[in-house]
Amino acid sequence: MLHIMNHLRALIQYRHLLWDLAIKDIKVRYRSPTLGFLWAIIVPLIMVFIFKFIFSVILRAQVENYPFFIYLMTAIFPWTYFSSSVSSATECIFSNRDLIKKTYFPRQIIPISVVLANLINFIPALIVMFLVLALFKMQFTILIFLLPGILLLQTIFTIGLALIVSSLQVVLRDVRYIVELLLMAWLYFSPGFYSLTMVANFSEAFLKLYILNPFVGLFSLYRIALLKGYANTLPPKVNIFALSVWVVIVCCVTFLFGLLVFKRYESRFSDLV
């Protein structure tokens, strides 16, 4: 436990570097493309359009009470933040080989800065989300103030996973493929383009297992914050308070576990990259 406090203290000490590396990431990413920062909005938007087309136009899926586009967006936008963070974190130790081989600073800065960069990248998408919500004449409630907390929770969880995959990738080069596969499966096993009610209708037993996935909780929380009256549409079996507590626990545990895993392999980075 004492170790973990030390690691956290190092993070605070190097917060400038953390910020600088994240900003570098963003600058490098958008300086050359002509459309620049617009890509941060275009990519998630296109994804939402594709899902909308497939599920609502071709498969004729429907969700209660809300336009399907809105329903999709409230999950897909946060998801792109998560998945792009984790997949770019997988390779981050290698792509920063130069720094690992040549300088000394707490290594956890690197994957965390990747997540931070993606978080910054997520902000314009978030703004677009609000604009679209306003366009659809959705009403905001007081619950909107939950949003920063939810975002923080998701970020903590993402950092935890980023720490795990980035360090494991150094020891085992197969991790990258596993991560890609898991990310794909994960989205399909989360209530992004179908509702929890559909899952409950399918099998109550499966639902009990299903809601252990932290993204069930996270997506639900995002929608509760953004969509008026969303909590009432949840199936009666799902207790939103219990679900929230579960999400908090999972996120924090993942974060701490990630730090431990990362620290375990850290000393071997400079030999192996």
């Binding site: 600058k27 300088t103 600073f105």
Partner: protein, 578 residues
Amino acid sequence: MRDSSKICNGVKAIRLENLGKRFDLTYQKNRVTKGILSALSRQKITAEFWALRDINMEVERGKVVGIIGRNGAGKSTLLNILAGIYTPTVGKVEIIGRVSSLLTLGAGFQDELTGKENIFLNSSILGMSRDEINKKYRDIVEFSELDGFLDSPLQTYSQGMRLRLGFSIAIQMDFDILLIDEILSVGDVSFQKKCFDKIEEFKKQKKTLVIVSQSLDIIERLCQEAFLLESGEIVQKSHPQKVVGHYLELLNEKRLPETFRRRYGKLRWWADKRFWEKKEGSKEARIVEVKTYNSNRKQTRRFKLGEKVTVRAGFVVDKEIEKPHFGIAIFREDGVYCYGPNTSFDGHSIDKLNKGEGFFTLEFKSLLLRPGKYRFSVAIWDKDELWAYDYHVGFYKFEIIGENKDAQLLNLRYVWEQEGWWQKFKITQSEEPDALFNLIHQSEDKISSSDVELSSFELLDLSGNPKSAFHAGGDFKIKSKFKFLKEPQDYYLWLGLFRCDDVYCHGVLKKLNAETATLIYPDIPLLTGDYYLSIAVWGKNQKALLLYKNKASVFKMTFLGEDHGTVYLEHSWKWRLL
């Protein structure tokens, strides 16, 4: 393991205890082998390699220590452990104070970002706080001399500019311990001089410095203590001169090839003429054609004084070689080593040479050599310069046309400091320097007469401080004061610059019409070694030497790079595979 806050007893800066570093080659293998097959058969290929073993080392605060040893002896691993980049496998590292290192210039530089953005990023990677960077920013820019380029992206910078930027950042950081690797030999002479001055400054500030260098002169000159590493172990720790001596013996003992000893031995100033007109090497690459061109791109072996000279060597590669480098060395016909640059000293890295044909060229902006006959060697070396792939020793000849009766070696640039405005446009020309030289040559070491007296003779740096050691690339002033006992009539002052082995490098003659005469050699390009100056006054009417002092002043030159020879000649390399 790294402890940067605790202060133990106040004197130790670095303490290593029974330290060892092992590299497991298992991982390396798994990465390359055919993945699944080897994983299934569970073949574990274990090969361990101890890069460092039983290292015990203590460095006191404020000391300058050097680490020497052959390539692969573990010097870099040791520095990397001190820098915190490698974690030792066993043992203890105690470091008290903030560490900065010059092993890693420009780590994390991003091509897409501008110079300015990179300064901020790199500084914070090196551990500077925001306030510190803001405070140091101006100093960094000034030191780097890159003002005006800082808003362009780094990809437009040359390798030299990048290193300069990296160095400037690293050097401006506040530190207690500085780790310095070979890199100091990179950059042009004047920048090197600046770096060297900075290191001297750190020495004065009582910072702890750890220097790794193949340049034994630098170790001898700068360090107070040296460690000799051999196969990962410290075999000697003592006074630098002793350790360097021991190291040279060790090299001889191991029967290393002649070429290697040539690099570190005493053959910096003379060629071993026995090897001339010979070719040696293992012939993976062969030099097939060597041509020289003049300023007009005309192929010739005869050049005018101070002309641009380009050497072009065509080669054929029969077997792929990795990290080779090219070298060319110029000698005077009598064996005096003029200058021998190579691509590795100049900081170029050539990844590999694939099978095929290619060429490299070396262009001298202006050959600062006096008329005479010269020879040069052309070589393609392996990466450590342990052996040559092909080495044509003293094989090629060229000539600088003109008269040079007194056999001066160098055609150095110089100016006389003007005493008053009325002399500003007056150029004093030498009249009969050759005759004078013969006169000097035949005379005794010291002549004095009742006509003129030398009242002071001083060597000064640009700011006017008397010195006896100078850095190549710095300005160099020679100030002589006379007392005329009789009205001077057509007196001439001669100053001769010699190597300590009596090779006449450069002489100047000037009509003496004031009591003080100050000669300035701007950016003096002399390479490492001991030199001396002689002075004479000649009376034209008397047709005799009125004053002569052989070795009137002795001085040392230090050049930071490893280049051999007597004079640094500005040059640039190019190479291409056809």
